[in-house]
């Protein structure tokens, strides 16, 4: 009984930290650029495909299973390339919608997500089929009679580290200060010789790279990846950010943990719950938004007349 409980708790925290990696990106981009980057989930899920391709190329040239170093390098490469792709997409598409009505940007990025998904489907070898993803970290640890997969621990650790680094960067460094300045007032930031364009670039890189880590862990957790997984990842990540309050980093984390908790609970207790999980998640989202329209930690917009 306790064993099961610990197992579920572990699943909850693992899933929560994976969701948080994606949700934080939504919130960061919204906070700085005031844009809903709806294709963020799709960008994040490019990483596992890139990593798989890299690993396969290496193993083809080695003629066996590649060394651990090669795998780690492939994963790192995938994260960096995904981050750079985020910047490229910003320049190609999103930049033009920065000053457009919010809805235009929303529809444009939804369409961008569709394009990315379809590109994977058509360009990646066997893109329409699911691809098996090996667990990045095999093995398990036994603690107090409960076996804990090392993968979960690594996922939690890496998430906490990445999000922690992001917090440290935002709160304690010069760059973080610049990002905050741009998010508060672009024109004023320009006056003190901060280039908003450069900050947008950097923000996009950071958000996409952190999302890429989330995408990698998501694929590893599921053991499988398909071109349209990004719909789930994107919707859940966005929901988590919205439930917490868009633009608020702690909100994104709380939202992720809430949604992951409900997700695990439903899958563990409701019969055939796995196929209904999004129903429950979205009912939670709607309920939260009805009672707190700006999310749990969101700034309530006060309009004075």
């Amino acid at each position: 009984m306790t064993e099961q409980l610990v197992q579920q708790l572990l699943n909850w925290i693992t899933l929560g930290s994976i969701y948080a990696l994606v949700a934080v990106g939504f919130s960061l981009l919204f906070g700085v650029l005031n844009i809903i980057h709806f294709s963020h989930g799709d960008v994040s899920l490019l990483a596992p495909f890139l990593a798989l391709a890299a690993v396969q190329t290496v193993s083809a040239s080695v003629g066996g299973s590649p060394a651990v170093v090669a795998i780690v390098l492939s994963v790192l490469l995938a994260v960096i390339v995904t981050g750079l792709l985020g910047v490229v997409l910003y320049y190609l598409v999103i930049k033009r919608f920065q000053n457009a009505p919010a809805m235009m940007a929303l529809v444009a990025t939804v369409a961008l997500g569709i394009v990315l998904r379809e590109l994977i489907r058509h360009l990646y070898p066997q893109g329409s089929n699911p691809h098996a993803v090996p667990r990045l970290v095999p093995g398990s640890i036994e603690v107090l009679g409960v076996t804990i997969p090392a993968f979960n621990l690594v996922a939690i650790l890496v998430s906490v580290l990445s999000v922690g680094l992001l917090f440290y960067m935002l709160e304690r460094t010069r760059l973080g200060l610049h990002i905050k300045a741009v998010s508060q007032d672009r024109d004023a930031a320009r006056l003190i010789s901060i280039s908003p364009a450069r900050i947008f670039q950097i923000t996009f890189f950071i958000a996409s790279a952190i999302g890429a880590i989330g995408g990698l862990f998501f694929a590893g957790y599921a053991g499988i990846v398909r071109f349209d997984f990004s719909v789930d990842v994107g919707l859940i990540g966005f929901s988590a950010a919205v439930v917490g309050g868009l633009g608020s980093m702690p909100g994104a984390i709380i939202g992720s943990l809430l949604i992951a908790g409900l997700d695990t609970l439903v899958q563990a207790t409701v019969p055939n719950g796995a196929s209904y999980r999004l129903v429950f998640v979205f009912l939670l989202v709607i309920c939260v938004l009805v009672f707190r329209p700006a999310g749990l930690l969101g700034r309530t917009i006060v309009e004075k007349v």
Partner: protein, 389 residues
Amino acid sequence: MSVTATRGTSGAATALSIVALTEIGSAAFLRQFLLAEDWRVVVGLLGFFAIVLVGLQRLPTVEARIEGAFSAQSRFATLLGIAIVLLFPFLLEKSTYALHLLIIAQLYAVLALALNFQLGSANIPNFATGASYGIGAYASALLALNWDVSFWLALPAAAVVATIFGFVLGVPSMRTRDSYLALVTIAFGVVVHQLLNNLEFTGGPNGLVGIPAPELFGHSFASPLVIFGHSLPSQANFYYLSAALVGVSILFAARLHHSRIGLAWNALRADELAARCQGINATWYKVLAFVVDAFLAGFAGTIYAFYVGFISPDNFTFLVSVTIMTMVIAGGMDNTLGVIVGAFLLTMLPEKLRAFSDYRILFFGVTVIAFLMIRPQGIFPQRLRRYGG
């Protein structure tokens, strides 16, 4: 516009011929486009269409002249339009494929007009029109399959069911706005899709099969339509039915646009806060927009279900909602003609470009982004309201 007495008669004759030329020309273009088999012909016709559009944009006087002719001879324009719609199936060389495309395009035109009340008139993002469409289709199909309800009773009943769901969806919209509201509608759409996919009585992923064809005065819609000795394929029944629905929707849209409701929606679009200060009950008008959207979508869904005879959750995904949204944006927000052109273009284009059939979804995404970047106001931009004369 003041027309002097001497120019009156000759002016009326020119206006009549301009209207006739425009309408017959458009119909001929549509016919060629529908019957074109070779993709090179399709691309050529599209190029022609683009040239005409660009030309109209470069020569605003020509556009104004055509518009003036239509408003001066609006009665003639309507009658000729109806005549063309009635005669059109006879000109298609009994091509069932062309008729099928037309029916689907017309249903999507209704859906796009429905969404236009929200997106175009009131600037409310709604990613759940596909869900309302699905609710209408499932409600009528279940009524017909389980209780032998006839199509003509299922049609209003399904619209009522869809409207109730539209109201339920509209309620959270009282509280949320913009991106948050967009998420609520996306969530609603996904919830409806997952429920349809998993519930027992909706048939799960297999959907519902064997929805009977409607009957009217003893004539089954599944049998060929015979008019004055001319026999038309059975699709023609549904062509006329959906054309009638498009007609009703246009009337609906026009009446609402010119009423206080349309004005209130436009006020909400311009500035919600200012509208509230003017005493406009923003909550009520927002919910009303959701209700009207769901009502029309329910009608379209019912006709689709009875036309195809088979529905599954995959007909009503999030992608369908995005497609409808694209039609409104590409056609022209808050412009009835534009929305219909957008719906026709985006239904037929992927079908006609068979060479790219695998890439149709990709094509959709690229089209949306291109339109939003190059011409965010759509093919036919929204018109300024005219007051008085």
